[in-house]
């Protein structure tokens, strides 16, 4: 009798304790599989990238699976490599041009969407979504066809518009106009995401704020600058940093447009790193370039993550 009276509370104590332990462990168990996959396929290669960048790793090393430690040699080589500085400058200019074009045009389309009536808005949104969904490989091929030097629709149109003689004009003859076409592909493909996201954000801004400003005599431009822009700042920060990160590592567009063997006046950072590794078989040097790229982008990533976490906390 007494025994049971003592044992019962103990058992009652044990059960909740076990349940609590179970409850404490559950979230970790739920997270574990996903974390394991990401950790293995992302964590290890990231570590290997750092290690490779300090090694000589060519074809013989690839076969024996053993890199040769050479300290900072790859980095000193980068530092003294005129080609690298050219490529870096070109990538920065390319990124700046693409991001500004994407953001400005995307914002304009978003503002247009907000002004349009229901039918026109649906039509334009559908068009944007179609472009958004088009695979990069497909859009590169479309643009290649449109700027074809012989039968391309671009040359015909520009000639008809009297913008010059574009008959048999080869857009890739010099890399500046070639990058013009590449920019067109990138920006065309990026506008829908920016425009639709910004429009979604715009439609969450309370209409009374705009009305109040307009009653106080503000012009359209003033309302945009003083009311809309500050409210949308977080989403602008996110979209801009995402665009910077995406455009800084553009690869596919250049690679496929230039027939998978771009000449060195078409090198961007990602192309340069790829060619040094998979064409020249200097995996160590290629890794050092790639890691430099990651470090440069870390700054942008930091801004993005901070903004996202802030939004996450506001929920």
């Amino acid at each position: 009798m007494i025994e049971r009276a003592v044992a019962a509370p103990a058992a009652r104590l044990r059960a909740p304790a076990r349940r609590r332990a179970l409850r404490l462990g559950t979230p970790y168990a739920l997270l574990a599989p996903a974390a394991l996959v990401v950790g293995a396929v992302l964590g290890y290669p990231l570590y290997l990238l750092v290690k490779l960048s300090f090694q000589r790793y060519g074809l013989p090393q690839l076969l024996t699976h053993h890199g040769e430690w050479i300290g900072f040699a790859n980095y000193t080589r980068i530092f003294h490599d005129a080609q690298f500085w050219h490529v870096l400058l070109r990538t920065v200019v390319f990124t700046a041009a693409n991001v500004s074009l994407t953001m400005v045009l995307g914002t304009l389309v978003a503002l247009l969407l907000a002004q349009l009536g229901a039918f026109m808005r649906l039509l334009l949104t559908t068009g944007l979504v179609l472009v958004w969904a088009t695979p990069v490989v497909v859009s590169v091929n479309i643009w290649l066809w449109m700027v074809d030097y012989e039968f391309g629709v671009a040359n015909w149109t520009l000639t008809k518009l009297h913008l010059g003689n574009f008959v048999h004009h080869d857009w890739f003859a010099n890399s500046l106009s070639g990058f013009g076409v590449i920019t067109a592909v990138v920006v065309w493909g990026a506008i829908p995401f920016v425009a639709i996201t910004l429009y979604a954000a715009l439609s969450q801004v309370p209409e009374e704020l705009h009305e109040a400003a307009r009653i106080d005599g503000a012009t359209f431009a003033q309302v945009f600058r003083r009311v809309t822009l500050p409210l949308l700042k977080p989403i602008f920060v996110i979209l801009t940093s995402l665009s910077i990160i995406w455009d800084f590592q553009v690869f596919n567009q250049v690679w496929i447009m230039r027939d998978q063997r771009p000449t060195n006046d078409y090198y961007l950072m990602s192309i340069y790193s790829f060619v040094e590794s998979f064409r020249v078989s200097e995996y160590g040097f290629g890794s050092a370039i790639a890691l430099t790229m990651v470090l440069i982008m870390l700054v942008v990533t930091f801004v993005y993550v901070r903004q996202m976490v802030r939004i996450g906390e506001a929920e």
């Binding site: 409850r23 404490l24 559950t26 979230p27 970790y28 997270l31 599989p33 996903a34 996959v37 990401v38 992302l42 290890y44 290669p45 990231l46 490779l52 690839l62 699976h65 389309v109 247009l112 349009l116 009536g117 026109m120 039509l123 334009l124 559908t126 979504v129 179609l130 472009v131 958004w132 969904a133 490989v137 497909v138 590169v140 091929n141 290649l144 066809w145 449109m146 074809d148 039968f151 015909w156 996201t197 979604a200 954000a201 969450q204 801004v205 989403i235 990160i245 800084f248 496929i256 990602s270 790829f274 995996y283 890794s287 790639a290 890691l291 790229m293 990651v294 990533t301 993550v305 996450g312």
Partner: protein, 278 residues
């Protein structure tokens, strides 16, 4: 006066909207219309704007090119595996983040956001070396695992939003009414987050279907590649057949476009939810 100005404004706005629509959609239209044109209508100096007379020749040419069917099948296998696996793994992780408070939760959230920013292009070299050591080069499984990594963080993040949208009271009410934990999960939570699961799986579908560079590096032998790699190698013999290239491009884009149009609303929502809270 003001009424006339307002109508004028409306007309101008609609005209601008129409012009932007035409500019954006033209490349896609040009692809499809070229795909349906016979060769002589493609190779003309002044473009033919409409595919009339139309032909299916380009499509039959495209699908009879070597490896189209193998590569289409490979793409489907990769996509199915990525969607299935990412859905299960992401849902479990999303449950943990949305329904439990635990030590390190904030760290996990920061990691999820940060991981999405890791430039995949920079990781191709070590990925290739790692997978070649593991004997996973030129195998679809290696590609599946790699895709999983860059699809998962986004899926977890979106699904977390959807799970949080289901009030916990509903599940608790079911428990009070005598439902088991598993029963509450199956009957209450799962049906309510189903739209989220659909949206997420289609995001994974699109990512896996459209990806090019990893498949290009990891899958080297023809017939073992995916459809985007097949299409990209089309260009290497260029100056040739634009008609069947555009037909191949149309076929490659078709599944993605169909799915994307069906769910883009939910994806846009997931990205911007809670972004504008002053």
């Amino acid at each position: 006066m003001t009424i006339r100005r307002r109508t004028l404004n409306r007309v101008l706005l609609n005209a601008t909207g129409l012009a932007v629509f035409a500019l954006m959609i033209f490349p896609v239209y040009w692809m499809v219309s070229t795909a349906f044109k016979p060769g002589i209508d493609i190779q003309t100096f002044s473009p033919k704007w409409f595919p009339h007379p139309a032909t299916l020749r380009n499509f039959t040419d495209a699908i009879h090119r070597p490896y189209f069917w193998q590569d289409a099948r490979n793409s489907l296998i990769v996509v199915a595996a990525v969607v299935g696996l990412s859905l299960v793994l992401a849902f479990l992780a999303a449950l943990a983040l949305a329904r439990f408070r635990f030590f390190g939760r904030r760290g996990v959230i920061v990691m999820i956001i940060a991981v999405q920013m890791v430039p995949l292009n920079a990781l191709i070299i070590p990925l290739y070396i790692t997978l070649s050591r593991a004997g996973q080069v030129d195998k679809l499984s290696g590609v599946v695992i790699t895709y999983l990594t860059f699809v998962l963080p986004f899926c977890v993040w979106t699904l977390r939003g959807f799970v949080m949208g289901v009030p916990q009271d509903l599940e608790e009410a079911a428990l009070v009414d005598g439902c088991t934990r598993m029963g509450a999960f199956l009957r209450i939570l799962l049906p309510l987050v189903a739209p989220g699961l659909v949206a997420t799986s289609i995001f994974a579908f699109i990512q896996a279907w459209n990806e090019y560079i990893i498949a290009y590096v990891l899958l080297s032998s023809p017939g073992k590649q995916t459809l985007t790699v097949w299409l990209a190698s089309f260009t290497t013999n260029r100056g040739t057949d634009w008609g069947s290239l555009m037909a191949g491009a149309t076929l490659t884009a078709l599944p993605v476009v169909a799915f994307f149009v069906a769910v883009h609303r939910k994806i846009a929502f997931g990205l911007t939810a809670g972004a504008v809270k002053a």
